[in-house]
Point group: C2
Chain length 195, copies 2
């Protein structure tokens, strides 16, 4: 099967639970484990974005997911001189229209920064009502951000966040949250993190 077809959703898949289980399986087959995080997250952003746009609950119309990707701690990027964690998140691989290149790791500086600081998924039904929301795309109406938490010997570290935007209000629900948290767990354990 050509790699591109991994984002097609068979018509037999009707529920969100089945959808996320299918995407998880496709992701396991697509990425390398252990693999470098740039390649793995590039394919993960593409797979999740395109699978969601092929699935009836979202589709590519007015309820479409319009952004799916990653912001990661600056310390992990190649060519960066920073060696300390927890100051800035840099833009990682994504699918969707262009986006902000960096986010300050401070609570109150938007949904990504809050999910990072609070170490928990944040589900936002209406982004314009969210305190401190940063509008990279004026068309976005709702958002979900899942922190990427790596458990090492010295404790746990937040590597970054996975961020999805939707054109509709209340685009994401608890079933999406459960599915995305499993996707993020798979990615965290499959990539070589240079920390």
């Amino acid at each position: 099967m050509p790699h591109a077809d991994s984002s097609l959703i068979p018509s037999i898949i009707q529920t969100k639970e089945d959808f996320w289980s299918h995407v998880h399986q496709q992701l396991e087959a697509l990425i390398e484990s252990p693999g470098n995080w740039v390649s793995n997250l590039s394919n993960a952003a593409s797979l999740v974005y395109n699978a969601l746009r092929s699935f009836k609950s979202f589709g590519d119309g007015e309820r479409a997911v319009n952004w799916c990707g990653f912001y990661l701690d600056a310390a992990m990027f190649p060519g960066q001189s920073s060696t300390t964690f927890g100051r800035i998140l840099h833009l990682g691989p994504f699918n969707g229209r262009p986006a902000c290149q960096l986010i300050r790791c401070e609570a109150g500086k938007g949904v990504c920064a809050d999910a990072w600081a609070q170490r928990r998924t944040i589900l936002v039904e209406e982004v314009d009502a969210y305190p401190g929301h940063i509008a990279c795309d004026g068309e976005t109406k709702s958002e979900i951000v899942v922190p990427m938490i790596w458990d090492g010997e010295g404790g746990s570290t937040v590597l970054g966040v996975m961020d999805l935007d939707c054109l509709a209000l209340g685009g994401f629900d608890e079933a999406d949250q459960r599915g995305l948290e499993k996707i993020v767990q798979l990615l965290v354990k499959s990539c070589l993190w240079n920390i």
Copy 2:
């Protein structure tokens, strides 16, 4: 202006020369210089992909560009143990459906490998007629691959390639080649390459 709007193409832009000049300007404003290559190439892939799909010569119909992104030398990726250049290209940031994670740097192993080995842009009118073509997506009909060449003190190095696919035969022409080569030059000089 929200970052996402940088990929919109004003209706006054009619020719390919004006299109590529406009995209070049938007890219300069969008990326950081000097900046890390993951963030800069993530936004570059998104900008070029979405701008092409907003432009009348391509659009989002049957002549659409269906993939736009980068393959880079394995030695530059974080978490890689390889320290030698020129063996494998790994998948970098892109927009479009999922793709092959690695390409061997050997002439005859497809368009990306050939552009890398020959250090020149390769314009392919019909991918199915190209010897050694690797089909990541069966829908792709034509392709253009531009090498990313970095001139250092010890000579020039091919960092990787920028790769675009199109759903139509003969999707790209010499005007696209000139525009993309300037985009690649801007990216090569704007990013911090850890070599």
